[in-house]
């Protein structure tokens, strides 16, 4: 069988470990397979942080380039998908930081806020998430993503974003408050 087709068929049946070995060796076909397998999930992550799809795609490409160039640094202890997700999140944060979109206004840093518990069921679908996130200011959106979805600690968020722990907490409370307003509006418009 022709080597090219053999490679294509071979890469389809490779497991992640074998795929990684081929990617490490610089096999473009294996790298493409890896890209095609994980890019939809990773673009979803980038898009949660960045409001324009084209910008999110640029971040995805930068992230994948970093993944392929630093594949030898993956220590095989945790999951490979988790490692890639962390790279994408860091890339997205770097993109936001470069454009000074993570600068939080002083009046938003104060923390006289008490979190109100809300156990309502919002009946959200995956298509609701991005439009709601797009309506949040960058600071709220990033902290909300990192804390609620990625399940980072406030200490980690503070380090990643270069803010204090209290700022991270206040941003989260404000984000949740704004989020509830948006969801209520959405629900109301659906009822009308």
């Amino acid at each position: 069988m022709h080597l090219k087709y053999k490679n294509i068929i071979g890469s389809l049946v490779l497991n992640t470990e074998q795929l990684l070995e081929h990617c490490l060796a610089g096999d473009r076909k294996a790298q493409q397979t890896l890209y095609e397998k994980y890019s939809p999930v990773l673009l979803g992550i980038c898009r949660r942080y960045i409001s324009q799809l084209q910008d999110a795609e640029d971040v995805l490409m930068d992230g994948f380039l970093k993944i392929f160039l630093n594949l030898n640094q993956f220590d095989h202890r945790g999951s490979f998908e988790g490692w890639m997700k962390r790279i994408m999140i860091n890339e997205a944060l770097m993109w936001l930081r470069k454009r000074k979109l993570l600068q939080i206004e002083l009046d938003e840093k104060v923390l006289p806020l008490e979190e109100v518990q809300d156990n309502r069921h919002w009946e959200l679908t995956e298509s609701d998430i991005i439009p709601v996130l797009d309506q949040l200011p960058e600071g709220y959106r990033t902290v909300f993503n990192l804390y609620v979805i990625e399940e980072y600690k406030h200490r980690e968020i503070a380090e990643l974003m270069g803010i204090s722990i209290n700022t991270s907490k206040s941003q989260l409370i404000l984000a949740k408050k704004r989020m509830k307003q948006l969801l209520e509006q959405k629900k109301q418009s659906q009822n009308d």
Binding site: R28, Q31, V41, E57, M61, E126, I149, K176, L183
Partner: protein, 114 residues
């Protein structure tokens, strides 16, 4: 709300534009090419440094050898000069040798005549 967000976010899938893989592939190729290109000046520099070191060491060795030769010739000259102090003895010996040779020659001529 948080749990709902978390669950729904994990199932978000967005398909990138078809050209994005091509862009990544091209950038990977460029990086590989750049790595190769970057290696050539390093190799050239290493070769030049080795060449210079070799040249310097050869010159150094040559100088050392010349210094050793000149030292030896100075010693030889000294030895010769030492001998020169006793020239008269050497001259006498050589005169004796010449006389002896002449005597032998004469004796052999006489034998022939006889």
């Amino acid at each position: 709300m948080e749990q709902e967000f978390r669950d729904q976010s994990k199932s978000i899938r967005l398909t990138p534009s078809p050209s994005s893989w091509e862009t990544i592939r091209r950038r990977l190729d460029e990086k590989k090419q750049n790595k190769k290109v970057k290696l050539y000046p390093i190799l050239a520099m290493a070769a030049s440094i080795t060449g210079v070191l070799l040249l310097v060491s050869l010159l150094f060795m040559k100088n050392n050898r010349e210094a050793a030769w000149s030292a030896t010739s100075i010693n030889n000259t000294t030895e010769f000069e030492d001998h020169a102090d006793n020239t008269d003895i050497y001259w006498q010996i050589s005169q004796l040798n010449q006389a002896y040779t002449r005597l032998n020659m004469n004796m052999s001529a006489d034998k022939k005549n006889l």
